[in-house]
Symmetry: D2
Subunit: 137 residues, 4 copies
């Protein structure tokens, strides 16, 4: 994995399935967006909470991995705590991940999600483990 050309619409795997598009990528800050469509909703017509969780997990993991791989290390999600404060029904989900801590074995990220009016809709705390890759890897 190398740092993507931006904006980068992920086409593979789960990020491709729900539609993650990375728009900015700096050291310690990553921004992305997801276009709302019916396939991302829960039965009441709101964006499903799992979409925010997934995007937060991806941004934090990806940014940690891209930073530590040069040292032969790998990154793996330890926990994801997402709080939902305002529903989104249409438009675009805007995500901004900010690194809060860069430890030897653990990185901590806060990921904020806002709607097209810039209102906070969800916020995630994602803890990423930095580890030696499996011996066979």
């Amino acid at each position: 994995m190398v740092a993507p050309q931006l904006p980068h619409r992920v086409t593979d795997g789960f990020d491709g399935l729900y539609g993650l598009e990375v728009t900015d990528f700096e050291d310690g800050v990553v921004r992305a967006r997801v276009e709302v469509r019916d396939e991302l909703k829960q039965p009441a017509g709101l964006v499903h909470g799992g979409v925010y969780c997934a995007a937060a997990e991806s941004l934090a993991s990806m940014a940690t991995y891209l930073a530590v791989q040069a040292d032969g290390l790998t990154a793996m999600g330890l926990s994801n705590h997402t709080s939902f404060v305002r529903p989104i029904l249409a438009g675009t989900i805007h995500a901004e991940a900010r690194r809060r801590h860069r430890g030897r074995t653990t990185w901590l990220w806060e990921v904020d999600f806002s709607d097209d009016d810039g209102r906070l809709c969800a916020t995630s705390r994602v803890t990423i483990a930095v580890r030696q890759p499996p011996a066979a890897g």
Copy 2:
């Protein structure tokens, strides 16, 4: 929404997109499964953390909603904290949601995820708000 005929493969929205199938539904306990496929993975080939988060969110929300709607109330996710302890690469993700608290305004669920060998792979704590529906609803 009524209690589903079981097993119930969700066909709409985000639950349909990633493939949630509800297999058991009792008061306070819900079980479900998700078949692993490439579209549910992250770049390293493991099931994406967001899949666990999404399934936990759905089971807790659905079970709370089905229980409180008879009283004219609605249910909405407040927070989802998922810890990842072992990756899944293939087979089926097995989910079991258990209600830990049934309050007047807040329900608390623990959702465990295991692989085909019965090993714990992730666990979520999901907090659901129980509220009066919006006036217009």
Copy 3:
């Protein structure tokens, strides 16, 4: 409870026991400090994680309560998620609570803790429920 004269060293209850001192109090931001002493430590000589949790809980609850009591409402902690990123062994624990969301029924706070060198040592997400007080109250 009224907004305290600052700096305010709490003398009663648990906040008095561990030694919370509120130093700044604005709408949406509260700052406080706790002096490290042996009675606040765990067996390895570090400040006990519970001290950070307790201070975060107090700042978020207190600030929410002072804001909503004029409307006859009360505030009560729903959850406290504290991540520990760097130990403190001596000196002063500096806390800053910032409100992230001010909803009708739920307020969300982030509380950062730093040491005397300004390094992030712990961070808490605290969710406070805003409710009608019990009928008899």
Copy 4:
């Protein structure tokens, strides 16, 4: 640190300050209690949320440490997420910590708190890092 004679009232540090008494200690399960007194309360007269957090942190850390120290490893709290579901005003806080995962680098515990009537009052998820001790240690 060795496994304590039980029941064991901690006399030092923060656990001594708020009054932790360990009553049972098996592999993967630890039980303890804390006697409620005015010094453990918040301004509204309920047991302060930080007391539950602190006890959860101690039980999970202590049990992990006692298990891994024979291998020359140390244990350190990574995160503590405590949900509050019912207040306690008097009597005894009963805690039961159960290990949910025992990984090479991370252990996961759930700690339930109940009142004298056996009702769930709070529940914590505590993540403990297992690490090589600092070189100089």
